[in-house]
Symmetry: C2
Amino acid sequence: MSELRQNLVTRDWVIIATERAKRPDEFTQHNKPVTQSPAYQPHCAFCLGNEDASEVELFRLGDRHQWKVRSVLNKFPALSPVGESDIKVEGIYRSMNGFGIHEVVIEHPCHNITTGILDINDVADILRAYRQRYGEIRQDPRIKTITIFKNHGERAGTSLEHPHSQIAATPVVPPQIRNRIAEAIQFIDDTGECLFCRTLKDELAASTRVVVESEHFVAFIPYAALSAFHTWIFPRRHTSSFDDINDAEILDLAYTLKTVLAKLYYGLHNPDYNYTIRSLPTNEQSTDYFHWYIAIVPRLSYTAGFELGSGMYINTVTPEDSAEFLRHVQIPKSPVCTNEVEG
Amino acid sequence: MSELRQNLVTRDWVIIATERAKRPDEFTQHNKPVTQSPAYQPHCAFCLGNEDASEVELFRLGDRHQWKVRSVLNKFPALSPVGESDIKVEGIYRSMNGFGIHEVVIEHPCHNITTGILDINDVADILRAYRQRYGEIRQDPRIKTITIFKNHGERAGTSLEHPHSQIAATPVVPPQIRNRIAEAIQFIDDTGECLFCRTLKDELAASTRVVVESEHFVAFIPYAALSAFHTWIFPRRHTSSFDDINDAEILDLAYTLKTVLAKLYYGLHNPDYNYTIRSLPTNEQSTDYFHWYIAIVPRLSYTAGFELGSGMYINTVTPEDSAEFLRHVQIPKSPVCTNEVEG
């Protein structure tokens, strides 16, 4: 018989559907390794040497022609940093200008690399870029939320191969985020504990859903994971905003994030996935009830009419089996990417 | 510049992203017409004559060997109608048995037909089956919500070609539904009006987003549609539960639903889509604040890390352009499906 589990952070219910159960290895994809692409693509605006083809640069780690990570304006921005950010109300209709910031973090000069097979120091550089831009963007008081996210692969919403992630800053706090915060406040009011600290403590004690532990972070499959291999990375230190991360934690998070993504890459053959950093809205910096974290969601199945209509989810592999499978994936030594610009 | 719009029913914000704007006809799909499949498939458990291959029958319109619509247990049910429905709480973990009902409505004896090209009387039979089963299932006091939904095409979550929809009944009310109800209560408390009746009145007055009107129903693109061609069908009569629908309304809804789906089928070349009927949880029958309706969501783009992280959406075509495009799609006369069982 199936089991229903509730996610305490979102109150979402998920059906762990054992009648449709799959073994974790049945989720193995048929995607090609990213290393089958060339290291340099003449027409890729994100490749080293093609900097003039990309939009305005907002941030760079390294030299102009020997950079490690760059951030540029999105070529087709969903939001733009000009104009008013007031809500217009006309009867039942509420609207605003599309004010905000939408940029692309070019994660590496090489075209044929991805986080799961990068060196840890290169992953740390990406995280440093995130921290820097997060801290800069939040200075604008019109900005309310900053979403850092990555789309890897077509089912995750991108057709661009070159490794990149995105930062979107919006002038509203969406209800999804307000609801999570309300749940966290309710929990601390009821128990005196941070819901996330308590979850971390209990997941470490249970240990069956833990994928990888490091000094400052723990990666685990949530008890009520909404889909197969859905993974959370929690900082052990209670802190609400991602940009509070310190240098030692950056390095340690680079190890943890890379390890989880490497296990997905090698264990499931380069699956499409999204990740996002869930941080407090930027009009607050520090609370005792909210705790930032990373959610990684491999795109291995489609949500359908059931999820649309009921707001519930169906997961065909147990979180415990997902975690055990990932714990056992061996990670080979990372390939070397040498990107030599022609000419 | 883009525009942000808020959906008053869910409080969701959507970015109407004009910088990425597409013309509605750019969403045309390359799917084959369903009529290219044979009318009868020997190995399809849902085809006329193959009744023994499907699971236990729960409902049938018509004779055993000349039926119009059937409902059968799902072969791989996510939920099963035995056992306890109590919530178990162990520390922070909440779970229940996978109690519930999960059935398949086989919409027509023919394999190569779909709602958008069916005769209106056949669509009315599907709706009659929904109403009948909805009324029967809600008799069980352990059931809290009944979700009727359709998955058409692979991106909508099905690989089964034979026209079918599903009914899932669960012993919980998920937060997505609780939140919609809370918004509706807030609105009536603030204004004295049903949010849905008011929306209908204002959409009819504006008329720019209306796709099709009939005596009892109105199909329109919501002001803050989350994705391209996302369509709502509202009953004009205020009623909270789908099973309150009367015979005249059934026939009229069959016309409206078929017309919208026909416009998608012919206008966008048989796109994948989901629809769902949003009705009040079954522990209540009638309220002044909630109004049942149908949501139709064509699957023309993928949600990605931005939606995951921010809880906001990006729609690359304006609701007004979507509606105008659909209004102008001409619907040819329906093809005739003759299903002759071999042997």
